[in-house]
Symmetry: C2
Subunit: 79 residues, 2 copies
């Protein structure tokens, strides 16, 4: 139960950042290195989830991958 | 193995952001909501890890908690 709440929080945490970044296009304070590592790491978590067939791991990381991917694209686009 | 690499990447991803934020104090593009949710979520992952006695989960989230906590403190301090 704590794990489920934790998964929801760390997944949905990217949402306010996506909204802020898309609205303001202000990416000066955002680290490219962080999002490059996050997107790669989340993609590997997703592969790991598919490999072991764990649905919560797959779902949480699929959502995180899209959200952190949007931030990464904005960071590269609006340097 | 994929899981270990994934854990290292998503944990260490906060490091370039911490360095950037501490050096520049530029937090305008960073979402307060994101880091409030991240720090809370990571703390719950840590509790979950302690509860089930999983050392990799405890270590990864202990490091992430400190790193994302520093970003949150800077965001609140240099609004």
């Amino acid at each position: 139960m704590i794990g489920v709440i934790a998964a929801c929080l760390t997944t949905l945490a990217f949402l306010p950042q996506v909204i802020k970044t898309v609205q303001t296009k202000d990416t000066s304070g955002i680290s490219l290195g962080m999002y490059a590592m996050q997107v790669t790491g989340i993609f590997l978590w997703l592969c790991h989830g598919i490999r072991i067939g764990d649905l919560p791991l797959i779902m949480a990381n699929a959502v995180s991958f899209v959200l952190s991917g949007i931030i990464l694209v904005y960071k590269i686009r609006y340097k």
